[in-house]
Amino acid sequence: MPIPNGDSGWVFEACGLKKQYDDGQVQALRGVDFRIQQGEFVAIVGPSGSGKSTLLQMLGALDHPSAGTLRYRGASLQERADLASYRALEIGFIFQAFHLLPTFTALENVQIPMFETHRSVSERKHRAIELLKAVGLETRLHHFPAKLSGGERQRVAIARSLANGASVLLADEPTGNLDSENANLILDLLVGLRREQNFTLILVTHDLGIARQAARIIEMKDGRIVSDALNKEPT
């Protein structure tokens, strides 16, 4: 019996989550269990190939699990018919490679997810300007991605991920393509925004320095969770 939306108090509940590729030749997730509460800041760490990105894809409904169950706010994600609107409205995704659309300006990129809402043209633009202000890019509204620095591009991507007021932010190595100075700026931005908006932040990273800022660290290896612990003193 699925628990009605929101009643369980958990944002995500994963149970025996498995994902295999190439007809079972690749076992990317070998049975993963965890629960995540609203507003948590979770870092997922682990060696390359341990299944971190795969797990994040399952959470973002970019792909289907091969076995096990995954609930979002009490309701099974696999059984959800409108995965597009889940991706558009419930979660925000941030990629290591930014993935902005090159033929659209910063302002336009931030508006792209808003097409899935009922906002008017001017509301979309207005909100995009506010979001870009919030990430400190009010002077770069009409720049194309190619004219922005890596850090600036990731800021645009963060603004885009928050365009529809997502309550969960999934970030796959958001600082992986940035130098340490920019990496810290992006992380500070995410942490600051989370404090203001209280979204759940699930962040995959190689960087233990970054992971230490999270309140909870999940460590993966070979498609399994090998440790899941609260971080006593997030820095």
Binding site: A84, G92, H99, T103, I112, F115, E116, V121, S161
Partner: protein
């Protein structure tokens, strides 16, 4: 930014490719406009020509050629006594090269027949009798041949005097070289032969009576067929062939356009695979992706259609003024044809976009993460 921004941005990112694709469709559409416009113009020009001669029924044997086959002039005696027949006028019409003009309508008419009566003389006069070695030129024919009243004209072996210039009230009439029947019969060695009988019916004859009269005449005259003037030209095998060929050729050109759009759309989609996956990953529905691709290819088709119509119209206007064609026909470029041509282009666009749209809608959002 609206959804349409996506559609236009998709086309402007590769302006040269988009431009070439538009040219590709435009050529096909221009072919449709030009060929169909001209073959329809051929039909309607002959119809208005007939109307301005005051004809209700045309008796002729439209066979393989562009002009009907000659038959004996005595046939008219079988038609004249029939009920509803008010007047008849026998003609011998041919397409002959006359001096500078490669092909000119030479229209020889029974002396005193009603087909002479609608000619408005703009200068000179009509021939005095059917024996006078005289010719009357439609005003376009006079321009094409560069003749005025008083000049002489060589028709085959005969030298004829231009005695008048007339306004015939229709392109075909204006483009004609008009003379008396016995004169042309003599020149072309068709003594006693005609190839058209224009029939005028008594006023108030209904459509049904007209059709019945046609059947009656056709029964009485095995060597020819009687057809209501408007339908006359469609009976011609030559016209049917021209019409079929023009559609065939233009559809082939359109097909090439389809392949062009499909190729461009597939290229643009392959190029943007990553972006489409990102759009899916950040929440765009597959329906929206499909719509984006279809709108894009529809817009390509539309732009190609509009340019094609422009090219076609300008091309046809130039073509009908060339000496070879001038005065033979008028292209019929009615708004319906032009709208239809643009509509064909849009349909071509949408059709060519179906496969690329379907292909992009099957992409997995997870592919956004890789690469």
């Amino acid at each position: 930014m609206t959804f349409f921004t996506f559609v236009t941005r998709g086309l402007t990112r590769r302006p040269v490719r988009t431009g070439l694709t538009i040219v590709g469709i435009a050529i096909g559409i221009a072919a449709v406009v030009a060929l169909v416009g001209i073959s329809r113009g051929f039909e309607s020009s002959w119809q208005t020509g007939m109307k301005s001669r005051g004809t209700d029924i045309v008796v002729s044997s439209m066979g393989r050629g562009l002009t009907p086959k000659p038959f004996s002039a005595t046939v008219v005696e079988r038609i004249a006594p029939l009920p509803h027949v008010a007047e008849t006028c026998t003609l011998l019409v041919d397409l002959i090269s006359v001096e500078k003009a490669e092909m000119m309508i030479v229209s020889a008419r029974q002396w005193g027949g009603f087909s002479w009566k609608n000619l408005k003389i703009t200068s000179g006069r009509l021939p005095n009798d059917d024996a006078e070695r005289a010719v009357v030129l439609g005003k376009t024919a006079a321009e094409v041949l560069v003749k005025k009243v008083g000049d002489t004209l060589q028709l085959e072996t005969e030298e004829l005097n231009v005695v008048g210039i007339v306004d015939g009230g229709a392109v075909v009439e204006d483009g004609s070289f008009i003379l008396s029947l016995p004169l042309l019969q003599g020149i072309t060695g068709n003594q006693g032969k005609i190839n058209i009988i224009d029939v005028r019916v008594t006023p108030g004859t209904g459509k049904e009576a007209l059709t019945r009269l046609c059947e009656q005449i056709t029964g009485l005259v095995p060597e020819a067929r009687a057809v209501v003037a408007g339908e006359h030209i469609r009976e011609s095998q030559a016209y049917r062939m021209i019409s079929a060929m023009s559609w065939g050729t233009s559809l082939l050109a359109v097909l090439v356009g389809v392949l062009g759009v499909m190729n461009t759309m597939l290229m643009t989609i392959f190029e943007r695979t990553q972006e489409i996956c990102v759009l899916l990953a950040i929440g765009w529905s597959r329906g929206r992706i499909v719509r984006m691709v279809l709108w894009e290819s529809a817009l390509l088709g539309f732009l190609g259609g509009v340019s094609g119509v422009l090219i076609g119209v300008v091309g046809v206007k130039l073509l009908v003024t060339t000496p070879a064609i001038r005065g033979l026909l008028e292209a019929e470029l009615n708004p319906q044809l032009l709208v239809m041509a643009v509509a064909i282009a849009v349909v071509v666009g949408v059709f060519s976009g179906i496969y690329p749209a379907w292909w992009s809608s099957r992409l997995a959002p997870s592919q956004a993460l890789h690469g």
